[in-house]
Each structure stands twice: as structure tokens, then as C-alpha cells.
């Protein structure tokens, strides 16, 4: 998914320079892994489509003499486009992993290697989870009081839950593989 809708959402919340928008996108959607360059291509595309327009801001620096920068703001068409996107039903994205395919086509002789791979993938998931939790801002004590704060929590939960489901599956798959690997060979035939 491109950063286009997210960038438009940011511009609707508050117009800004390209750099400011890139920073805000990084703060709000860190888990999505969008590059700052993606913000500029999203802005170009939004401007081309008439959803966003650029206006001249004040010059930078203490004297204000430096070249004025473009401030991006949403057009009426952009507001309509964003509203339509909000109303669309978002289909869940299927998650497919190479390891699942290996398990599907493996014979019993590969079980020890596949068990090792579940450990390795679980470690990777835990590291990814750690990166997510490290990015999460320590909250001010008290339950999130605004929708904006709650939405950030929900988005983070969605990312974390995906990893949790994967880790649970890896642990369960490992248990089954170990059980079958430890069984006498004869009982594995015909399965």
C-alpha cells in the first residue's frame, strides 16, 4: 500500500512543508516503514490528481530571505477523495510466508531443520516486536483521552497482534513437528 492516503490524511489534519510531513508520517506510522522519499512521490501524485495544492510559504531563516518553500494543503476534491477512502471497506491482507510453503512440501527427514527454522523465525519476530515497542512513545499516565491517542494505540496493537499470531503459530507448529519427529518411524508412514 502506498503512503498516498496517509499523506493526504496528514495534510488534511494540518498543511505543512514536505519535510514536516515526512517527519510527521514517521512519527505516526513508523511501523509501516515508508521512506521519506515516498512522501514526496505521494505529494507529487496527489498534486497531479488535484487532491492537494502547493502554496508558497514564508522564506526560512531569521531574516526570512531564504527561498520560500512549498506548503501543501488539501483541496476540496482531496477532502472528498479522503472521505470516500474512509467509507470504503478495507479487505484484510493475506499473509503468506515462505516457511509455510516449506512445511507443506517437506518430508519427515527435514523436520529437525524446520524446527530450527521456527526458532529462528520466532527470534526474528521478537526482534521486530522489540523494534515496534521501542518506537512506541511512553504515554502520559492516564488512559488515552482523545481519539487521536486511542487511534495510535489501536494501530500499534494491530501491528503487534500480527506478530503475536505468527509467534503462537510457530510455537504450535514446532510442538507438532517435535512430537512427530520423536515418534517411531513406522507410525509416520501412511500419513
Amino acid at each position: 500500500m502506498s503512503a498516498k492516503h496517509a499523506v493526504l490524511g496528514l495534510v488534511i489534519e494540518q498543511p505543512g512543508y514536505g519535510y514536516q510531513l515526512a517527519r510527521r508520517l514517521e512519527e505516526r506510522c513508523a511501523a509501516w516503514g515508508w521512506e521519506p522519499s515516498g512522501v514526496y512521490s505521494a505529494l507529487d501524485s496527489l498534486v497531479r490528481e488535484g487532491n492537494v495544492r502547493s502554496v508558497r510559504g514564508k522564506g526560512s531563516g531569521t531574516t526570512g530571505r531564504a527561498a520560500p518553500r512549498a506548503i501543501y494543503e488539501a483541496t476540496e476534491k482531496g477532502h472528498d477523495f479522503f472521505r470516500e477512502w474512509m467509507f470504503e471497506t478495507a479487505p484484510p491482507s493475506p499473509v503468506r510466508q515462505e516457511l509455510d510453503l516449506k512445511i507443506l512440501f517437506s518430508g519427515p527427514e527435514f523436520l529437525p531443520r524446520l524446527i530450527d527454522q521456527t526458532w529462528a523465525q520466532e527470534q526474528r519476530c521478537m526482534d521486530d516486536l522489540r523494534n515496534l515497542t521501542a518506537l512506541s512513545q511512553p504515554s502520559v499516565p492516564g488512559a488515552p483521552s482523545s481519539w487521536r491517542e486511542a487511534a495510535v494505540v489501536l494501530q500499534r496493537d494491530a501491528e503487534i497482534k500480527l506478530l503475536q499470531v505468527r509467534i503462537e503459530w510457530l510455537q504450535n507448529a514446532r510442538r507438532v513437528m517435535r512430537e512427530l519427529h520423536n515418534r517411531p518411524r513406522a507410525s509416520q508412514r501412511g500419513g
Binding site: E122, P138, S139, A143, E168
Partner: protein, 243 residues
């Protein structure tokens, strides 16, 4: 030196003639001002790990050290006899009907060391610090799940322990209440240098932890610290606590 250090801890239970291994060679450290969260599926051994870490149960082998000294375990039923530096979050609430008011329950761990009046004063202050001053005159039965959790944390913190251990502190709470509890624990670690170990059945509860781990098949897998592209570990100044 770590506040809490578990090394090569093993624990198994006998169910009839069968021995079931719960923890196999588990090692874990919790430092001052550090929030460590351990996740595991149902039956993974989270409660066993938490009770061993709090000194409420002895491991079969391995060592459990608190502030550099081997921790002497007490029976779980005698949680009031915990090491003075360790707080245990007991979400079951008062185990006897003697406590008419929450403030009396929260002041219980202080009796003996303080007069009843001083103990109540400190208990009231702790309830206020956690934002549940209004519960002081209530009974446990009349509290919501969120209030019960906060009262349980107040009961554990009132002695001002250096280490807090909580087994599934946010059970039955909604997302926003969960955030409130975890943010409070985060604040206690940051501002008071409290070392905290929590076990959780749901990974979003680990969101504000300094270090996280996954318990399965008796093994504890800790996530590696985030590394920058050049391989150096990223330092998070807001999470650093002066010792």
C-alpha cells in the same frame, strides 16, 4: 549489578506419575528502573516464572538473586512475608473479610513497621498517586476491574519496594485501561527507579517495556535490542535511569 537475576532456573511439576517440565534453563535479569515483560501462551509457565522471581516459590535448580543475594523463598500463601524489597501484585484482593475498607487493605503491608494511623496515611497517599483516592473508603467487591488492578498495585507499592513483580496485571481490562496501567508502571520505573517484571498473555501489553521475552517449551527467548543499520545499539535516553 542487576536488581534481580535468575540463572539457569529449572522447575517441573509432578502430575501423578508424570513429570512435566515448565522451566528449563531460564535466565533473566531486571535492572533498576527497567520494565521487563515476558509473554507466553496459556500454560507456558508465566505464573511459575513470576512466583519464582518474587521468591514465592523455589526453583528445582538454578539461582534467584535479589540485589546480589540468593533469594530465600517463602510460601505463596504467605505473600505478606515477602522480601522487604519486593512487591507482589496480588489481583485476588483481600484474602480475608476483615478489611472493611480498601485503605485498610492497602495499609496492611505497613503494619508492624508503622502505627496504624501512619500506615493509613501512607496507604491513602499511594492510592492518590495511582489516581484511585476515591476507592479508599470502598469495599473490594464494589470496585471495577480497573480499580482492583490499581488497588492491587498500590498494595504492592506501599512498602516502596525496589522490585515489583506482577503476573498478568492487566487481565480482563479493556485496551484503554490497559494503557493506563502499563503507563503507570512505566512512570514508576522511570521516576522512582523501580525494577519491574510483568508477565502478560497478550503482546500489546509489552508496548512500553524496555526488554521483552517469549516463554515457550520451557525456554525464554529475549528479543535482541534494536540495532541501527551500522550494527550499533540505539540508545533511548528517555528510558535510561540513573542508578
Amino acid at each position: 549489578m542487576s536488581l534481580l537475576s535468575l540463572k539457569a532456573v529449572r522447575k517441573s511439576y509432578w502430575r501423578g506419575p508424570h513429570e512435566t517440565s515448565v522451566l528449563e534453563d531460564v535466565s533473566l535479569e531486571v535492572g533498576r528502573g527497567e520494565l521487563v515483560a515476558v509473554w507466553g501462551q496459556r500454560g507456558a509457565g508465566k505464573t511459575t516464572l513470576a512466583t519464582i522471581a518474587a521468591g514465592l516459590q523455589a526453583p528445582d535448580s538454578g539461582s534467584v538473586c535479589f540485589e546480589g543475594s540468593e533469594l530465600e523463598s517463602v510460601r505463596r500463601a504467605r505473600a505478606t512475608h515477602l522480601h522487604e524489597g519486593i512487591g507482589w501484585v496480588q489481583r485476588m484482593g483481600p484474602q480475608s473479610g476483615d478489611f472493611r475498607m480498601i485503605v485498610d487493605y492497602v495499609s496492611l503491608p505497613l503494619l508492624g513497621a508503622h502505627s496504624p494511623r501512619a500506615a493509613r496515611r501512607r496507604a491513602s497517599a499511594m492510592l492518590a498517586r495511582l489516581g484511585v483516592a476515591g476507592c479508599a473508603g470502598e469495599r473490594w467487591e464494589s470496585l471495577t476491574d480497573g480499580e482492583r488492578t490499581l488497588v492491587a498495585v498500590a498494595h504492592a507499592l506501599v512498602r516502596e519496594p525496589r522490585l515489583l513483580v506482577a503476573d498478568d496485571p492487566t487481565a480482563n481490562l479493556g485496551v484503554l485501561q490497559r494503557e493506563q496501567i502499563i503507563a503507570l508502571l512505566r512512570q514508576a520505573a522511570d521516576e522512582h527507579g523501580l525494577g519491574i517484571l510483568i508477565t502478560v498473555p497478550d503482546m500489546p501489553e509489552m508496548a512500553h517495556a524496555d526488554r521483552i521475552g517469549s516463554l515457550s517449551d520451557g525456554r525464554l527467548m529475549m528479543a535482541r535490542q534494536p540495532a541501527a543499520a551500522d550494527g550499533t545499539v540505539i540508545d533511548f535516553p528517555s528510558r535510561q535511569q540513573s542508578v
